[in-house]
Amino acid sequence: MTPDNLTVAVIWGRLAAICEEIAEALQHTAFSDQVREGGDYSTAVFDVDARLLAQANRSPAHLGAMPGVVKHMIEYYPPETLKPRDLIIMNDPYIGSGHLPDVFAMSPVFAAETLVGFVCCSVHVTDIGGSTPGSQGVVGVTDLMQEGLLILPTLLYRDGEANQEVLRLIESNVRVPELVLGDISAQRAALHVGAFKMGELYEKHGEKLVSAAAEIFIDRSEQAVRAELAAIPNGSYSFEEYLDDMGPETEPVLMAVTVTIEDDSITYDFSGSAKQVAASINCTLTYTAAYCYWATKAITTGDSIPQNEGQLRPITVTATPGTFFNPVRPAPVGGRALLNQRIVELIFGALGPAFPERVSAGSGQWVNPIFGGTDPDSGRRFIFYDYATSGVGARLTKDGIDSVSPIVSVENIPIEAQEAKNPILVERFELITDSGGAGRTRGGLAVRKDIRMLVGNVNLSNLTDRHRFPVYGLDGGMPGTLGATILNPDTEVEEKLQSKGNYNLRENDVVSFVCSGSGGFGSPLERDQELVYEDVREGKVSVEAAREFYKVELDEE
């Protein structure tokens, strides 16, 4: 039975909608700020062959990893053993999670007692144990075992009933169990909603028709990506740059990619990068691939159709085992989130000169610090998981974007909410003048966030980069500014902190996170003077920078 174009549209639309509905349920029942306010989670639906049918547009890392995760889970729990309302969790970085705080959950979907597919979601939990609060410490971590509780695929709910022993084990291994177990409970609620809705869809149309429809839209999606790739001339494009370091007194880490386009397929090879490192910042191949998927979609189908398996088929991702982008167990991986945009920047750096209309110049580095301590008033442990996205690099025909992620759809947690729950005070959160690389089109502005500790003995695990190497501009555009992390800025005891490091903070210490800036596109001398005036008027470019980079003279007024 071959469904016509109309039936395909109906089924495809409903599958994409179900992913959004799972996402909404997850966000509405979650306990941590990063999930319910920040959107640090993902949802997807699969058919009975673990083929990715659709996913909601959330964190690409989780999404790129999910197909592998579902396949691994059903290796442990064969499909014929699964029952309705079962739920399996896992967080093993080497079979898909990427790092321990990303907990994946999966439930089987039944239609009239037949297994028809799977629904899956992942959340970034606030803590999963290990040596540093938040489980993302980079320095001093040389083995995965130091990073926290590792969960191989584990049946957490059987027929809707919780395995209390497993929950107790998690409870006893994490710093803030109420948040972690709360978010896992939200996963259960979300997958319940998803399994019910997807089951409904299959019951309505029948499994054969849904499968046939899926075959069609997946194939068409693949063809769409291939058609775009075929329009790009065959060739190899390489780019390399450095990660600042992996902690105090360590060397820069070489990161390199060669992108090869051959007819209608694309290969990303990261083998030219450094060997895996003895710090928790290695990037598993699934995580690496996730952002290759992102980049491929961005330069081909973009936002026109939802992501699915077909669009991954033209893509090959390789790296020699034991290298930075394909480490082998037990290399630690906790801080790898830093690298998400860097993978895309390597790719855009390689392809940019050849395909300037499809990419942006390099984007500012995001910061992802975690503070952990105990609130003396309540005696409760707290973990303040924070992040700030910098800006986006300039595009060929328009400026970059101020303060937004170049790749992921996480959003800022309101400061009023952060202060209500943590003993901290945010003293400023602002755009940084002159942080956007000059160019015919200008890089987006970066942000600065200053945070004061209201209690003492707080552990900061800092996680950011580009304190040493700025991001590139394209086609003669200037690089972005460097970032910095400064303890007690503008005081006599001002001190520069490392981009990766663990610090003990005292009461009233202020930490200032200055994100690095984004790159410009084209020569600044070609920029429309009116735009320079406006930038100066809006405080985005200073009078001095206008003179130095754009050769535009302005009065102080």
Partner: protein, 694 residues
């Protein structure tokens, strides 16, 4: 009831949309006189004045007979869209002047390298900071330095800035600094318009609260002047009634109240449509309703539970592709509308060889291909015409005829791209757009925890009733209502609006605490006192009714489920907890028995109940048999079927008619599918029992 000899009075509803003004004059004997005019922005007041004069004359009554004038407008949304407001300055706590520029920093279109953030209404160059700081617990950490405000006031005078928004951190719990800043600024420059965020929103989310205050300030001069001009026009027609303005929440405010908080009127037009649904649903004896309003470019769905439209406090202006984060957030009580870019004018195109409908719309210019104004892409209206649902000689009350040839041509082009035939393509458009609207109906019902099968579908707006019966089937809905005048539903809905004051207040209480009941009762009591104070002097405090509800969650969660409370007296905590558990379980399949339940936001609405509606529609049916005209109509698998076409005015009250049939009237068409049974209700509404549900 029935027609009384003496006309005791009349009500006037004026709905100003983007393109048209709809005016309805209803006399107390139930007669309705309506007019539809182009909304020419420069002459708007004059256009309304002329039309009302004409309607009064037609009804044979004097202006002084009009005892209530109610107005809804989309001018606020348009003013923001066109950036027609004043230059506003923003003053924030030191360190946060970029609150609008940074926003929530959401990448709302994840894979689109070319995406941009929404453009704030205040640029960076007019954003300023002063020294002050309050904490999340409401305490003051740093006192407000007034001297800094003095310098800013001087600067505003130099730069001719006349409107200022003050938004300080944690002002939702500690508003004192904002109030002092306002008083100080007004001392310095009495001419200045000063808006403080805590007067407009009590959200503990600094970006959303600031954005709401800025939108309010932006609209104040635009809408304030407009409301004043409109109010001043009324006496010229001999109308002594004051002007009432519809709010997004569905309640009424006086023109003065609305001029101070114009942000609360942004969605007044769509809200009026939901009120029309509520009103006619209740006349037909139904209180649980799904309101479905479909016009030319958008479809709006809303849920009405126990006769009360569901509300929300968050929406976004200028949203793109219905994506969160792409628009400017506004935090104000609003009827909870799910709005999608699918309407009669939505354009159908191939996407990867697969049919896609909308969100692009042909609008009014060039409009659907069948308008014959040059549109060469097929739209939903074109599909409906080719499927036989619409009468090409009788569109929009017969004011325009539709061009079948152009529709055919456009449809054939698309059909060949899709490798389908013309009619299959038209049917595809009909089904795909239905799917979109089904999604909107699901979002507003199932996703909010309501089972659509226990609701009645009410169709409002010109295009809804052609799709309603099909949608009802898809959702398992058993009954559908098409009110009289559905095509101009919003203007009629205005006449159903009641004076009301809505309050929302945070007050976190764990239900298992010993004093929970006491504290809850005290919050509700103080809210009711505030509401009554608000009413004093504005409108009569007779016949007031109070509704109360509370947003609950498991302690530690962030989102709340709203649960209704008894209307008065002490609340029963145990029962409340159980209601929440049940609601949560319905939504998510589980209840969390080990966690405390936390009450977070308290809601209280005071409404002045209108005298029981005396309006019985004059068009309550015919006493003759109707003519047996038929038309060939496409009914899915059955193909084209000769189908009865009846003029609405020819229907008899209470006489059932079996589907399939088509009911035609001035501004809308109703498609009744096979196995459906249609009856004209005494209220004038069409009531359709849905024959078979999927």
């Amino acid at each position: 009831m029935g027609a009384s000899k003496l006309k005791t009075g009349a009500q006037l509803g004026i709905d100003v949309g983007g393109t048209f003004v709809d005016i309805v004059l209803r006399t107390d004997d139930g007669c309705e006189h309506s007019d539809k005019l182009l909304a020419e922005p420069d002459k708007l007041i004059q256009v309304i004045e002329d039309s009302v004069a004409k309607l009064l004359a037609g009804a044979g009554i004097e202006g002084s007979d009009v005892y209530k004038v109610i107005h809804a407008t989309t001018r606020g949304c348009n003013a923001v869209l066109e950036r027609k407001g004043p230059d506003i300055a923003l003053i924030t706590t030191r360190g946060f002047r970029d609150v609008l520029q940074i926003g929530r920093a959401l990448r709302w279109s994840m894979y689109d390298v070319q995406m941009d953030k929404p453009t704030p209404l205040v640029p960076r160059s007019r954003s300023f900071e002063v020294t002050e700081r309050c904490m999340a617990d409401g305490s003051v950490r740093t006192k407000l330095i007034e001297e800094e405000l003095r310098l800013l006031a001087d600067e505003f005078q130099q730069k001719n800035i006349t409107s200022v928004v003050v938004s300080f951190m944690h002002s939702y719990i500690a508003p004192e600094h904002e109030r002092r800043a306002k008083a100080f600024l007004l001392e310095q420059c009495p001419e200045l318009e000063v808006t403080i965020s805590s007067d407009v929103s009590l959200q503990g989310r600094e970006y959303e609260r600031t954005s709401t205050a800025v939108v309010n300030a932006y609209l104040t001069p635009v809408l304030g002047a407009y409301f004043r001009d409109l109010a001043a026009m009324l006496p010229r027609l001999g109308i002594n009634s004051q002007l009432w303005i519809m709010q997004s929440s569905g309640g009424l405010a006086t023109a003065e109240q609305a001029a101070k908080a114009p942000v609360s009127t942004l969605e007044s037009g769509p809200a009026a449509g939901v009120l029309a649904s509520t009103h006619f649903g209740s006349l037909c004896g139904h209180k649980d309703l799904l309101s479905f309003d479909m016009g030319g470019t958008t479809a709006k769905t809303a849920i009405v539970e126990a006769g009360v439209p569901s509300k929300t406090t968050y929406f976004e202006l200028e949203r793109s592709l219905n994506r969160r984060g792409s628009g400017l957030p506004v935090d104000t009580p609003t009827i909870d509308l799910v709005e999608i870019g699918a309407g009669g004018g939505s354009i159908a195109e191939p996407r990867l060889g697969i049919l896609n409908v909308g969100p692009q719309s042909a609008g009014a210019q060039p409009g659907p291909s069948c308008y014959g104004l040059g549109g060469d892409k097929p739209t939903v209206t074109d599909a409906n015409l080719l499927l036989g649902y619409l009468n090409h000689e009788r569109f929009a009350g017969g004011s325009m005829s539709l061009d079948l040839e152009s529709a055919n041509k456009a449809m054939d082009t698309l059909a060949s791209q899709l490798d389908l035939d013309r009619i299959r393509t038209a049917w595809g458009i009909y089904e795909v757009v239905n799917l979109e609207m089904e999604r909107a109906l699901r979002l507003v019902s199932i996703d909010r925890g309501f089972d659509p099968r226990s609701f009645v579908l009410v169709c409002i707006g010109g295009a809804a009733a052609v799709h309603g019966s099909y949608l009802a089937r898809a959702l398992g809905i058993e009954k559908m209502i098409v009110p009289p005048g559905a095509g101009v539903g919003s203007a009629i809905g205005l006449l159903q609006a009641l004076e009301s004051v809505e309050l929302a207040q945070s007050g976190q209480i764990l239900l298992d605490e010993a004093d929970a009941s006491e504290r809850a009762n005290s919050i509700l009591k103080s809210m009711e006192d505030n509401a009554r104070k608000n009413i004093e002097g504005s409108w009569s405090d007779k016949d007031l009714s109070v509704r109360r509800a509370v947003g609950l969650r498991y302690a530690g969660q962030g989102f709340e489920l709203k649960v209704g409370l008894n209307e008065s007296g002490d609340i029963d905590i145990e029962q409340l907890a159980e209601s929440f558990h049940v609601r949560y379980e319905q939504n998510y399949g589980y209840r969390e028995t080990s966690l405390s339940i936390e009450a977070v936001t308290w809601y209280l609405t005071v409404t002045r109940e209108q005298e029981v509606s005396h309006s019985q529609n004059k068009l309550a049916g015919s006493d003759k048999d109707f003519e047996k005209l038929t038309r060939s109509v496409y009914l899915g698998d059955a193909g084209f079927v000769d189908t009865l076409v009846i003029d609405r005015s020819a229907l008899r009250v209470g006489v059932p008619i079996n589907g399939p049939c088509i009911i035609e009237e001035a501004y809308t068409t109703t498609l009744v599918l096979p196995d459906d049974v249609l009856t004209l209700d005494a209220s004038g509404a069409l009531v359709i029992e849905i024959g078979s549900t999927e």
